[in-house]
């Protein structure tokens, strides 16, 4: 990755929740990188820490959650800034202006007693030195751009007057009103119907082409991730277990968890089989993280005496990174040295 391309670097990020019953390591050493204008999908089941990880970037983790360590470096046009441990004033600048976020339930992040327009205008004026009329013009322009019909009228509508899909559009309009370089979208389509979901995903893709921002998409739905992602990270119990180009991860997943996740999904057009390949057991409770590789109790390939002892680290396997001991027989695997590596993989890497 060329140095000028990098937008965001996350290194060894740890976010813990200090509960009465113990400490939950919700994010347990995550390393990720994002390029300018790229879409990174973070996928995983509930409790894997994907949302907490994304919220940690902007310090939106509520107590008892706390960022315990690591680095989050944002590369702004005027130079890199460090977000972990940053001053409140810097964070306020970064939020909306550089990094904006949309959530699953727009009603929870929109004010109920203010019109859509006034909320966008407020955000714009907080971050940019523009007059009220100018900001209103911007709001109407943004609403129009996200495909809300009659934006001149809708700008004065209250959130409850809009349908679920329209609210999510309004939320996106607001998030993009200050032209951020990164949009974090946390399950933006999960509460929507398939048809509306498809519209919102298409909208995100179009806006990205137009505005050139990067998108971090948090989702539990591999299908949704496949629609928009350039790169993809699969998380399990607070760690990234596989990270690579979306095409590679989806078509030839290497980590046993990523493989099992893809197999267990019923998908359209598949031969009707009587049984789905389920992953046995369930995600362990957060206090009782298994020793060694945290997936080993559910893994069909687990090696006793090894997977329950050694914690795997992300290492390169055929052009992507995988945290699995199956690929770490050698002390330091060479590029393209993994056992079932194929020539095409090497070309892509």
């Amino acid at each position: 990755m060329a140095a000028g391309d990098v937008l965001l670097e996350i290194e060894d990020l740890h976010t813990h929740f200090h509960m009465d019953d113990g400490v939950v390591h919700a994010v347990d050493g995550v390393d990720l990188r994002m390029r300018k204008g790229e879409t990174l999908a973070i996928v995983g089941e509930s409790g894997c820490g994907k949302s907490v990880m994304a919220r940690s970037i902007l310090h939106l983790v509520d107590p008892p959650g706390r960022i315990e360590g690591g680095k989050v470096t944002l590369h702004r046009p005027d130079g890199p800034v460090e977000l972990v441990g940053a001053h409140k004033r810097l964070l306020r600048q970064v939020r909306w202006k550089d990094i904006a976020m949309v959530f699953q339930e727009p009603m929870a992040s929109l004010s109920l007693v203010h019109t859509i327009g006034s909320q966008i205008i407020e955000a714009v004026r907080l971050h940019e030195n523009v007059g009220k009329a100018e900001a209103r013009k911007r709001a109407i322009e943004m609403l129009d751009r996200v495909g809300i019909p009659m934006p001149q009228r809708r700008v004065d509508a209250y959130p409850f007057e809009l349908s679920g899909g329209m609210r999510q559009r309004a939320m996106i309009a607001m998030a993009l009103s200050c032209r951020p370089s990164l949009l974090i979208a946390d399950e933006p389509t999960t509460a929507l119907d398939v048809t509306t979901q498809a519209q919102i995903l298409e909208l995100l893709r179009d806006l990205q082409d137009e505005l050139g921002m990067a998108i971090m998409l948090i989702t539990h739905d591999l299908g949704v991730a496949a629609q928009v992602a350039d790169t993809m990270a699969v998380m399990y119990l607070g760690r990234v277990v596989e990270y690579g180009s979306a095409e590679q991860v989806l078509s030839q997943p290497r980590h046993p968890y990523a493989q099992a996740l893809l197999r267990s999904m019923p998908r359209l057009g598949q031969a009707r089989q009587r049984r789905l390949a389920a992953i046995r057991g369930s995600v362990p409770p957060p206090y009782a993280r298994p020793e060694g590789c945290s997936f080993h109790p559910r893994c069909d390939h687990a090696v006793e005496g090894r997977c329950d002892v050694v914690t795997p680290r992300l290492t390169e396997v055929g052009g992507r990174e995988v945290a699995c001991l199956l690929y770490q027989d050698e002390p330091e695997p060479q590029r393209g040295g993994a056992p079932d590596d194929t020539p095409d993989d090497r070309e892509e890497s």
Partner: protein, 346 residues
């Protein structure tokens, strides 16, 4: 499969009044379910799909009589072969029906009483219906727990001690307690994680194979419906717009709405992205309190013609299937390629 349906629904309608003003006068009605005809064969699965607000949940609730239908008939075939109309039964007379038709709910967190142990939760329907002595009930609760993949000893625990997938298993055990003949599963796996969802779907299909259960499977997820259903009915604004055997409906839909729904499903296969194109739906989901005239789907349909704005198409037979579209014969709609095609193009 027997030709006699287990449950035949005829002209089922459920309207919810819309009230307004100080006196709460009725100013209109939401036609949540409007003149629906459906058959569920014994031991088979009928899948019901549609967007939110299409009436699929209301229909499921009418079937278990959690709602009283406004009009229409629900003809249920008792084990002795006699047919009763469940739609008009009084609460008292419903008891035997309630034992034979059970429901699994979407949210395993709110559908289990947190103050009761699993023994009480699963045993309750048996107590209500006079299944046997407390010892017999306790024994059966243990059997049921094992059947759904939980341990017998769990019977004395409370729901909070279990994960979402395990709670859903408890909900299934409760539904099975009285050996029902028909189970209405309303988004029964939608709240579960992907890996656990597959376990529950497998369990439901095993149970069907073992005991010849009939299922009404209500879901917005077309992937799941394709996997479990023998026959699929697509609902739009309270009406069934297309009904067909699963394979046929998915490979070659006859209603433009079905086509659009299928094309909107995100596919995790990167190869599939290339040979599938999304059918654009115009506008937003329609409001069931305000159904458009003519074909209710016409404002969102890319194929709509003048006729569609004026006349409502009836649900009619086309090639052995049922579809409510004026142009079902003329349109050449795209479905989802089957596994054979997929392998060739991938």
């Amino acid at each position: 499969m027997s030709t006699e349906p287990l449950l035949r629904i005829e002209g089922l309608t459920k309207h919810f009044p819309v009230r307004s003003g100080l006196l709460g006068r009725q100013v209109g009605a939401v036609r949540a379910v409007d003149e629906v005809d459906l058959d569920i064969a014994p031991g088979s699965t009928l899948g019901l799909v549609g967007e939110s607000g299409c009436g699929k949940t209301t229909l499921g609730r009418c079937i278990v009589r959690a709602h009283d239908p406004t009009s229409g008939r629900m003809l249920y075939r008792r084990p002795d072969g006699s047919v009763i109309d469940v739609a008009t039964l009084k609460e008292k007379e419903l008891k035997p029906y309630r034992a034979e038709v059970r429901m699994i709910f979407q949210d395993p967190h709110s559908s289990l009483n947190p103050r009761k142990t699993l023994r009480e939760i699963i045993g309750e329907p048996m107590r209500v219906h006079g299944y046997g002595t407390p010892d017999e009930i306790a024994e059966r609760v243990g059997d049921l727990l094992e059947r759904v993949g939980l341990r017998r000893e769990y019977a004395s625990r409370y729901p909070h001690a279990f994960s979402g997938g395990q709670r859903q298993r408890v909900g299934i055990a409760r539904a099975l307690a009285l050996s029902p003949r028909l189970v209405v599963a309303d988004e029964a796996v939608s709240a579960l994680d992907v890996s656990v969802r597959a376990q529950i779907l497998n369990l439901l299909m095993d149970l069907q194979e073992e005991s010849g259960l009939g299922f009404l499977f209500v879901s917005h997820d077309l992937g799941i419906i394709e996997h479990v259903a023998d026959v699929v009915a697509v609902m739009y604004l309270g009406r069934v717009v297309e009904q067909a055997p699963t394979e046929e409906l998915y490979r070659r839909p006859l209603h433009p709405y079905t086509e659009a729904l299928l094309s909107a499903v995100p596919d995790p296969d990167p190869a599939a992205k290339r040979h599938r194109e999304r059918i654009k739906l115009l506008g937003d989901i329609a409001d069931p309190a305000n159904v458009p005239p003519g074909c209710p789907f016409h404002p969102r349909c890319v194929y709509a013609k003048d006729e569609c704005r004026a006349d409502r198409p009836p649900l009619r037979e086309v090639g052995g299937r049922r579809v409510a579209c004026h142009f079902a014969e003329d349109l050449d709609l795209r479905g989802v390629p089957g596994p054979e095609i997929r392998e060739v193009t991938a």
